[in-house]
Amino acid sequence: MDMEQEAPPKDLSREQLLAMYRRMRLIRGFENTAQKRFEAGEIGGFLHLSQGQEAVPVGTCTALRPDDYITSTHRGHGDIIAKGCEVNYMFAELYGRTTGYCKGKGGSMHIADFSQGIIGANGIVSGGLPISTGAGLSAKMRGTGQVAVCFFGDGSTAEGGFHEAMNLASLWQVPTIFVCQNNLYGLSQPWHASAYKCELSRRAQSYNIPACCVDGMDAIAVYRAAREAVDRARTGGGPSFIEAKTYRFLGHYVGDPALYMPPEERAAWRERDAIVKLGSQLRGWGYLTEEEDEAMGASVETELQAGLEFAQSSPIPASEAALDDLYVHFDYAGNPK
């Protein structure tokens, strides 16, 4: 493979690259495990999986500071784990347990960890775009140097919230980075049937937002695009837009057979698996031996298993906890706290 002739990147250390690789495997493993537990009937609600898209959040979040913000979507497990969420509390949230990130009130679509700048996944398509614009405005007004990354899908880009957020972010020159995970489908609607001859980067450029299109199956390429955008945002250069072309290996949610995705298309994208690619690169550069690769896989598996057991053995919330946490100053009936 020509990959073996490729020189290792100078802008990412071996440790960083190994951490990216492990994080991508952790996301994949988390979702594979969650899928099995969902199919076994242990997890309720919806489960929107992102297998195939891991390079986008991991590449992006590698360029972030711990106090930077992200917003995410209904398909958010990968984004959230990439920013630093731990799989034990993630599983616990999926299981609706008190130890979950949201104490069982959010579930898969609403995981947030404000202590790590994860200001919410969002069940409303495009819901995070105005919010991340406001988080960027807030960072700018407070002068903290933080940036806000908005993860969203191609399905958001026909929503009014997308265009309003792009316009305001540009007008206000806020440090918000819009990362579109173009996985080619908004539920079942193919991207090519959602907009006429559209290139998303050009759509962003029409708002005078610097924009690029990267291979979302290449974590290093995503990192570089994010690095440039983050550096620009931190130094007062305003918002950026990154379209990462990627693919959702599975259906919209667990249970969707994805009959609308042509089998040959699915197979072709599977061939381009970003995790396989990065693993191959790491071995090619001498950064990772076969044994280390296997040991990493085992450690990921151990972490996931421990996380799963943590969730399964965590307490179920009291039913009446449904009435808590509606207001800061009042109980749900309006009595002052």
Binding site: Y69, T71, G100, Y101, C102, K103, G104, K105, G106, H110, A112, D113, F114, I119, G120, N122, G123, I124, G127, L129, P130, I131, S132, T133, G134, A135, G136, L137, S138, A139, M141, R142, A148, G160, G161, E164, A165, N167, L168, L171, W172, D324, D325, L326, Y327, V328, H329, F330, Y332, G334, N335, P336
Partner: protein
Amino acid sequence: MREISFRDALKEALREEMERDERVFLLGEDIADPFGSAYKVTLGLSPIFGTDRVIQTPISELGFTGAAVGAAITGMRPVVELMYIDFSTFAMDALANQAAKMHYMSGGQAKVPMVLRSQGGPGRSSAAQHAQSLEAWFHHVPGLLVAMPSTPYDAKGLLKTAIRLDDPVVFIEQKLLYNMTGPVPEEEYTIPFGVADVKREGSDCTVVATSMAVVKALRAADLLAKEGISLEVVDPRTLFPLDIDTIVASVKKTSRLVISHEAPERGGFAAEVAAQVADKAFGYIDAPIQRVCAPSVPPPFARNMEDYIMVDEHKIADRVRKLVRGEI
């Protein structure tokens, strides 16, 4: 005590809170000078605080309301002005799905200290898309607080509280109230949410009224007083949290209840008050609970038709008269 307008009372609240807390900022359409907002509440604030804190936005209600949510959950305290509450349809996702839900669905992590100020109500031939009274929409959404002041004093005190709360507040003004004047002390004060104000004491019938309907109910009380009928007017001031105890105490005293608001009757706030009073004071009520609200139609344009649907003192007085005489 000095008297100032409802508009100036609101402006003072904004100015004082912006001086007190640098995290407080304003955003909305046309709010900076020289225009100073559609009803001039923010006129004069941008020269004091600059356009970095009095942010005049494009016509982009979802964008800037959603941005306010994002700013609020990351340490700022935005006060959004929505020029007409009718435009809240565009902002509804940011309000109902985002602001209202953030604290709850994050398991108590997120705080959303934002205020959305807007104005509604008929009376200026503004017609179906600029004169609605939409408080029931927001009142119905768990996670939002709703304030509707009827006097300059309440407007200032409630707005200052709204800005200081860590929960999202929908603060609804009425376009005809802005020029009304009333006593407002020079010194600092705030008014807690969830505390009703008995605007007039009486013994024969209670009228629970909101916003402009309070003004009309007080006029009705004057009319009825000449006939020897004593009306008690209770203004909840905040629809949620609701001070039902003060309302129930009043009904126990008068044994009759009329509820009045400018919003359409069907599914309105009055129905909630009626249900709660029926639940908590059934044995004390001597007559059917009555609603004096707009019929469930959009606000029409022509002046005579608008007058026809609007709550006024005569409609309230007529209903009270019938109740007291046992004609209902």
